[in-house]
């Protein structure tokens, strides 16, 4: 009697989880399957999920329809530079906000919070004008420099740093460690989950960014993958879904991989900071 009830319970639970999973996975699945179809297969009615014969050549077609090597390199350079720059600025800033008392600290921190509440859409015109003024529009810098300081990252990391007992830092000072060393050898290793989370969010949002590079670039050789793939529609025609989806698979693959590698740290970060 009891075990039957439990069976129904766990059965329901698994079914519901399965439904939710399907809702999330289906678009990805459809994208991947479409990328492997022939053009007529994308048009059949009723639609079929699986292609008769996977068309790997779609990827080649997509990648050959424009300077995709350049796009990819640009995307990688931009995203990696942003993440490195952000870390370099964020770690000392968060450390100072979390563990130092200095004049004007509350005001400066309020400014940081303010910065992360202002949407990019408000600032892009003045930023564009300024960067154009500096004469760097035809380089990758306009896609990197405006994101060097990650206000949300500073905020999150500060919360994380505040939970590190001050005695640990004082012990390190008594062990004759410089402030730089304390950050590098004590604070950073203790905050790997938070740093992984911030890094991943940064990676996803800048790898996927479309609006900013669209505004800030004026030539092929500085454009990232997102724009390249959006332009597939122009070069391949609006309805060539198999090719467009092949391009999209290439675009999201690094994100899926990054998430797979860092998911454990991310869960840890949320558990630790009490958000979960």
């Amino acid at each position: 009697m009891h075990s039957k009830w439990r069976l129904i319970q766990s059965g329901t639970s698994y079914t519901l989880k399965g439904v939710v999973l399907l809702i999330f996975i289906f678009p990805f699945l459809w994208m991947i399957m479409t990328a492997l179809k022939t053009f007529p297969e994308t048009m059949v009615f009723p639609p079929r999920l699986l292609p008769a014969m996977p068309q790997w050549s779609n990827f080649v077609t997509a990648m050959q329809s424009g300077p995709f090597v350049t796009y990819t390199i640009n995307s990688v350079i931009v995203t990696v530079s942003i993440i490195i720059l952000q870390m370099v600025i964020m770690i000392p800033a968060a450390y100072a906000f979390a563990k130092y008392k200095f004049k004007g600290q509350p005001l400066l921190f309020a400014l940081v919070l303010l910065a992360f509440m202002i949407p990019g859409q408000v600032t892009f015109i003045p930023v564009y004008l300024m960067l154009a003024d500096w004469g760097i529009i035809h380089t990758l810098l306009p896609q990197i420099l405006p994101f060097a300081a990650n206000a949300f990252g500073i905020f999150l990391l500060r919360q994380y740093f505040m939970q590190v007992p001050t005695e640990i830092i004082e012990s390190a000072r008594l062990d004759n460690a410089s402030e730089f060393k304390i950050m590098l050898k004590i604070m950073v290793p203790m905050s790997v989950p938070a740093l992984a989370t911030i890094g991943l969010f940064s990676f996803v949002s800048h790898w996927n960014d479309y609006f900013w590079p669209l505004v800030m670039t004026d030539s092929m050789n500085v454009r990232p993958l997102t724009i390249g793939i959006a332009m597939l529609r122009e070069t391949e025609g609006i309805s060539n879904w198999n090719i467009i989806m092949a391009g999209n698979v290439v675009l999201v693959l690094p994100i899926l991989l990054a998430y797979l590698f860092s998911s454990k740290q991310i869960v840890k970060a949320f558990v630790y900071s009490g958000i979960k």
Partner: protein
């Protein structure tokens, strides 16, 4: 190796002054215990020596040198925190080695030092473990080893045993005393537990509200307390004290200095009461005796009385202490002493 001296030291946090114009000399190579009730400024004093929270004014001297402008890492001091403050992401070995690395000690020398110190504190088998896998006592040892390996001239410890269970605490006490003998460096040990202070110290510095009440050997602190506060702080249970009823003075005696009897005796001070409670502690028993004027705690080594039994408390003259209205103890050879003694005798006769 190094003495520590405070000269007219004041420490304020914002508007509140915690320590004012404090003078103190901590002798080289001695085991000095800072003891006092919670919030009296022990940790503050220790942190000033370490340089973590420098004094607001005055000077702190280590080995005769003013260290007011010396960074914590350059003072030749090591501090063991109450919560150990071990670096959680480093292995035990890395924890012990961190200070040496920062001081640019060569690799071979580091290896040698880490191995000899970890053998001393019994951590040899745990060098590659992460702190999270260690027990409380083992973490304590990591903290000690980390402090010892730097061969500091001054060893500071802030209630290092308070997180351990009673048995381990007694064991570690003995180990620390032995460690002090072996190293011969200056130890400054903070505790709010007066038993710990009495059992470990060469010199006790008893503090209250940021002021030093008495600075003496455990023996002197116990037998010749400077003032009422010291008398009431030291001893388990502490000294019985009560108003004398003359000049605002008080008298007192140690719980073990009194004898309990069923009939009156010719003790100098005699008081009739009833036993309210009885605490049997094994070798001794503590009776709580209440009369119509005073209540006293009496410690006996024989368990002869029962609750509700009427008894006489008797104290010989040479075991009585007197404190003036300023709460200072009146010495036996001081002018007022005999008068108070006589006054107390007459009180009882009435």
């Amino acid at each position: 190796m190094a003495s520590i001296e405070f000269k007219k030291v004041t420490k304020s946090f914002g508007d509140s002054t915690v320590i004012e114009d404090l003078d103190l000399m901590i002798e080289d190579g001695k085991f000095t215990v800072l003891v006092g009730p919670s919030g009296c400024g022990k940790t503050t004093l220790l942190r000033m020596i370490a340089g973590l929270d420098p004094q607001t004014s005055g000077a702190v001297l280590i080995d005769g040198k003013d260290v007011s402008h010396t960074a914590p890492g350059q003072r030749g001091v090591a501090l063991v925190f109450q919560n150990y403050a071990i670096y959680p992401t480093m292995s035990v070995r890395e924890n012990i080695e961190f200070g040496l690395k920062n001081n640019k000690v060569s690799k071979e020398e580091r290896k040698e030092l880490v191995e000899s110190i970890s053998a001393t504190v019994g951590l040899s088998d745990y060098l590659d473990r992460k702190p999270s896998t260690l027990s409380g006592g083992q973490r304590q040892r990591v903290a000690l080893a980390r402090a010892m390996v730097k061969k500091p001239a001054v060893f500071l410890m802030d209630e290092p045993l308070s997180n351990l269970d009673a048995k381990l605490r007694v064991h570690m006490r003995i180990e620390l005393i032995e460690l002090h003998k072996k190293l011969g460096s200056t130890f400054v040990y903070v505790t709010h537990d007066q038993v710990e202070a009495m059992s470990m110290a060469d010199t006790i510095v008893l503090m209250n509200k940021g002021e030093i009440q008495q600075e003496a050997s455990p023996d002197t602190i116990y037998r010749e307390p400077n003032n009422l506060f010291t008398a009431q702080f030291v001893g388990v249970p502490p000294m019985n004290t009560a108003p004398l009823g003359k000049d605002g003075a008080s008298f007192g005696f140690r719980p073990e200095s009194a004898a309990l009897t069923r009939s009156a005796t010719d003790a100098w001070f005699q008081y009739k009461g009833v036993i309210m409670t009885r605490e049997m502690l094994g070798s001794e028993t503590i009776y709580h005796v209440k009369g119509d004027r005073y209540t006293f705690m009496i410690k006996c080594y024989e368990d002869l009385f029962a609750v509700d039994e009427p008894v006489y408390v008797g104290v010989p003259a040479d075991k009585l202490f007197f404190f003036g209205a300023d709460e200072k103890r009146i010495a036996k050879n001081a002018p007022g002493y005999q008068a108070y003694l006589d006054w107390l005798r007459r009180q009882v006769d009435e």
